[in-house]
Amino acid sequence: MIYDPSIFAVVLFIAFVIAVLGISKYFASRTKSSAGYYAAGGQIHWGVNGIAFAGDYLSAASFLGIAGMIAFMGYDGFLYSIGYLAGWVVALFVVAEPLKKAGKYTFTDALDSKFNSKAIQLTAAISTLVVSVCYLIPQMVGAGALITPLLGLPHYVGVVLVGSIVIFIVATAGMASTTYVQFIKGGMLIIFSTILTIALLINGYKLNPQDHYHEFSVLKAESSNGEVTAVLEDGYNIVGQNTALGIVKLEKDDIQTWWQLMEQGTVLLQAPSKVALANGDVLYNGAPKSERRFFQVGHMSKIIVDGKEVDKTGPIGPFEFLSTLTNSEVVLFTMKNFTEGGDRVTVWLHTPTPGEQIMRPGVMFKLDNGATFMTRLNFVSLMLALFFGTSALPHILIRYYTVPSPKDARKSTIVAIASIGFFYILTLYMGLGAMTHGVLDLESSNMSAPLLAKSFGIALFACISAVAFATVLGTVSGLIVAASGAVAHDLLSNFAGIHMTDAGQVKAGKISAVVVGIVAIILGIIFKGMNVSFLVGLAFSVAASANLPAILMVIFWKKTSAVGVAVSVMVGMLSALLIILLSPSMYAMYGLDPATAPSPLDQPGIITIPLSFIVLVVFSLLFPTKNGKAVAA
């Protein structure tokens, strides 16, 4: 899709980002030591710290990914909101207190607290590195997704831009994501999302969502047994058919387009298509991208209020917004891929879907129609990984301790949970709004929320994009710092015992930051187009499999041994990665047929999390630590 950059939007965006970076540098220059960094929040009010917590946690992946997934799939995207937030319950109620009592506040420290084991230091560092990279990929994809509608530049430009900025900052000065910056970002994300939701409610639903919404051409045709025999309209020639999908390729004026057979074979409806020719060219609706034949989509086929069909609803309340959609019908666009000759064809088929199916899980995670044991297992696996994943993320728990007292720590966590929860409820509205307001880019679900904002005004769009971009910068730098720390400090210095001067360690950290950054850029370009929330969910699965069983058992089971922990972390991590890399979704991304994927599941959690627990128990009993004590003892 072609995007027209707006000068106003770009200027506002740049100004916003500079302001955020400027504030960050100002506060960063005031925290000089690592102790200063970790204790930076030591005197900060719990309310501020709570919103900062939320700003830290709500990456652009939440904003872009969840809203995007809801826009294309309905309720299934909301499952991520529910799962991510439920994970906080595990973090607050189960993990935080015992960890605090042990006086450890990073994941690696907590795991190693009673053992001082080389094996744990090694595996925990590797796990931190791997989880950080997994978490980095969606952030980089998100960066690309933000820059494209804003500047009209291709995806890889956004990725390279974010990567370079962050590498530069981290390698030269070291970016301290201070509490105040996260507070501002968190606050702004919530405020602008609220504004967008209110705008949605005031606008209501309309059958014709936008003034210039594309009118899909309709042709009369004749067909028999699903095969089109004639087109009753001048100028169109039949040049190809795919009866399995019920589509036919027509040519007019040298432009080839795909059409869907509707109304018992008497009508042809134009279906958006993208063809990757054998010679490398890509055609959108039959012409190169520059001819702008591709368009934004997203509309309802029926709006039903109080049992009657209407054209539009007018301003609508929050409950009505949801109930009206439940009673109505939305045209979803189902993507189908196939090859024709040497070309790879992607067609998006109009699929009018009753609202009541969209408003419960089932479009993406097949639980009702088309459900199998595996699809149900996949769903349960996802919900498990999300539930356990939050508290297993290395960078989450740190913030719990940056306040002066346990009361403040709890209060700030509750403010965080409330803000994050409120934001996630807003994502449902933003996602459904994008689905029905004619703004979707079929090639990228990630762009749904920014494009919805754009339809309400350039200023709102620019502000939301700027906040999301600043959030991506913050998250990416935090992750690169964590990953490079794992390499330089934990692996090289502690584990390998390579003695370095302070300056040497800092240099090693910076070099690792550059390497990790480059890896992240490459991966961010490769994973273009994948929904970022889906990718974050996979990162959660790896974290939940690698880290959580270990941390829970170290807290609660006296017989946990160093060997058990180390093996559990590695097995959890590797098994999760293996299943993910061999999963249907990844196979689709590799360009292979998903049906040939060795793993039947996309979501590994239901296998890898119990596996990790079992391995820990078995190896702890086989190889007990001498004088080992669990943290809670």
């Binding site: 605090k100 690696t108 409950f319 009505e320 419960r360 349960v380």
Partner: protein, 90 residues
Amino acid sequence: MAGHGPSTDWGEDKASDYKERLGIYLFIVYCIVYAGFVLINAVSPKMMGLIVISGMNLAVVYGMGLIILAIVMGVIYNHMCTKAEDRMNK
């Protein structure tokens, strides 16, 4: 990053065991409610389509309910922990 001590000194806390136990109880309650959501979807998905209140279905109400429950439980947890700390850490 290994080997750091606690970032701030919170002193001795006699209420710690109480808070841990309370946390576990609340976690178990939430687990059950969450498991209910997952199980209904996996085993009886059509039930999620039942209209519950104000025209919204069970999926929406239960899903939002889980989010709100987490917040409410957090507030309860905080309230009871604070009272325990005040009581035990005189």
